[in-house]
């Protein structure tokens, strides 16, 4: 029942909850969570009614309906304002959380030292990938109360281990102990070549590209032109002339009128940001829409992602949509998993899900039996666990 050291669940970023004896801390926890994705705010923004969400969450939602998801008040994209204070609060709460979590535990343990050390190191804002620091400190909080190995891992958690700044090799042994292979394999989503053990976290972080060798021994040519295009994008060659991030204006993109825009218009937007220009008009529209959400919401945070990280995310979401159409994710992973490690990853993820599912169903079955035993429709609550 101890799932806290499972690599996928810890990368799922689920810190242990505060004990019920601290309702105010539970409330604080909830108040830094976006109600759309249920994750701590990333690039928080507010809209007219005063409700706040992650920039990309509310932008996606407003693309579908022009109202606040929480209170139904009419809302428009133009109302979106970066909420700097909320970002600051979210960040500092996540930084302090491990310490406060420790303090909130009934018997103070001697492991406290580790957590203080951990919180001392400053978050590094140099790396492009968003929120690595908060994530790793949360992860630390999840693993602290366990084995010594785990607390070492918490300490390591502060080095922005998986941000693709070229230092991954040293760290992922600590990061993901269960997968020890040092083999490399292509990420099933962005195709970037990575050590197998770092792939799950890499995916969870939205596929930040590893510094170099993106197109190493990736699965070649499977997706035809588009794939080749994405590959070029990631290898830094770019597609158009200007491929250097510096040259792209960091200014909000105005949405084109999609019904009027010609494929050529759309392609020119895409090439301005060195993105693939392949596909029919619906494909181009979907790519432009997604890119605008990614790009604009990236301007709403001080943890900016690099353009290449944004491109990786775009490619990820495009692939997963395509995959959805074709078949299930697991199948896809299996197909691509020419190496044992990837298959193992796929199996593990499946296994984890399977286990969660079984536990719940077993529990529910017992509950149903109890309910039936007492006759249906009684209204006394049956507490489980």
């Amino acid at each position: 029942m101890d799932m806290s050291n499972h690599p996928l669940l810890s990368s799922m970023d689920e810190p242990p909850p505060f004990p019920p004896s601290h309702p105010h801390l539970r409330r604080l926890d909830r108040s830094v969570v976006c109600q759309i994705c249920k994750e701590p705010f990333q690039a928080p923004v507010s809209i007219g009614c005063g409700h706040s969400f992650c920039s990309s969450c509310i932008r996606s939602s407003l693309d579908v309906m022009k109202k606040c998801p929480s209170c139904n008040e009419p809302a428009l994209e133009g109302q979106i304002r970066r909420n700097r204070a909320l970002e600051e609060i979210t960040d500092s709460w996540e930084e302090s959380r491990p310490i406060i979590y420790e303090l909130a535990q009934p018997p103070p343990t001697k492991k406290r030292r580790a957590s203080i050390q951990e919180s001392n190191s400053k978050p590094s804002s140099s790396s492009g990938t968003k929120r690595l620091k908060p994530n790793s400190s949360r992860e630390g909080s999840g693993s602290r109360s366990q084995s010594p190995i785990k607390s070492r891992r918490s300490d390591d958690g502060d080095h922005n281990s998986l941000n693709g700044n070229g230092e991954m090799e040293d760290e992922e042994d600590d990061e993901v102990q269960e997968l020890t292979e040092n083999d490399e394999a292509p990420c099933p989503i962005c195709q970037a070549t990575l050590p197998i053990s770092s792939i799950p976290l890499h995916i969870e972080k939205g596929c930040p590209p590893p510094k170099t060798k993106t197109n190493g021994n990736g699965v070649g040519g499977r997706k035809g032109n588009q794939k080749a295009d994405w590959k070029k994008v990631f290898s830094g060659q770019g597609l158009g002339g200007k491929s250097k991030d510096k040259e792209v204006e960091m200014k909000r993109i105005t949405k084109p009128n999609y019904s009027l825009a010609t494929p050529a218009d759309l392609r020119s937007i895409l090439s301005e940001y060195s993105l693939p220009t392949t596909g029919d008009k619906p494909t181009l529209i979907a790519r432009v829409q997604e890119w605008i959400i990614l790009f604009n919401s990236n301007l709403d945070t001080s943890h900016r992602s690099s353009l290449s990280a944004l491109r990786a995310k775009l490619s990820d979401s495009e692939n997963s949509k395509k995959r959805d159409k074709e078949k299930g994710k697991d199948e896809m992973v299996n197909q691509l998993g020419s190496k044992d490690g990837l298959q193992k990853y796929a199996k593990e993820k499946k296994g984890e899900f399977e286990r969660l599912r079984k536990e719940i169903i077993e529990r529910d079955r017992k509950r149903r039996e109890q309910e039936e035993g007492k006759g249906r429709g009684r209204d006394n609550a049956i507490e489980v666990e």
Partner: protein, 154 residues
């Protein structure tokens, strides 16, 4: 599934695991991340559905929770959709929360609760008007139906 929807669903599942589901609502199966089935029964002595259990199926797309999941009552040998003026005999449901009232802050359990209370407030077991005609021509995905919501719809 995209990373985001998978992550959100994992979270919901973990939540169900740690906190359980409200009474009368039970997760029957979640054979994949894409499709979950809940059992729903209405509690109390008042209800016209006393002793009945219904199976509610949800299919999640890769844009969940931005897009509403596809929600139907199962209609098979084992489960029958409830007799309700907003539930067609093929299991399709006319409920605004599954259409224009959907909000991405909602989740699977919230849908179950809404369905449960839609049943709880019903006094008359009957099919919607035009049930047979609808069922004959309905697309298999109810999201493709252009629903018209009555005022009294939940």
């Amino acid at each position: 599934m995209s990373g985001l929807s998978t992550k959100r669903l994992m979270k919901e599942l973990a939540d169900i695991q740690s906190k359980g589901t409200p009474e009368g609502i039970i997760l029957l199966s979640a054979d994949s991340m894409e499709e979950w089935v809940f059992l729903i029964s209405v509690l109390g002595e008042e209800t016209i559905y006393k002793g009945e259990t219904f199976a509610l199926r949800m299919k999640f797309g890769n844009r969940y929770p931005i897009d509403v999941p596809e929600v139907t009552f199962l209609a098979n040998e084992q489960y029958q959709p409830p007799l309700h003026p907003h539930v067609y005999s093929n299991g399709h449901i006319c409920a605004s929360i599954l259409g224009n009232e959907w909000s991405p802050v909602l989740n699977a359990v919230a849908i179950c609760i809404t369905m449960q209370s839609m049943l709880a407030s019903n006094k008359k077991k009957e099919r919607p008007e035009g049930n047979d005609r609808y069922v004959r021509t309905a697309p298999s995905n109810p999201k493709l139906t252009r629903w018209h919501y009555d005022d009294d719809t939940v």
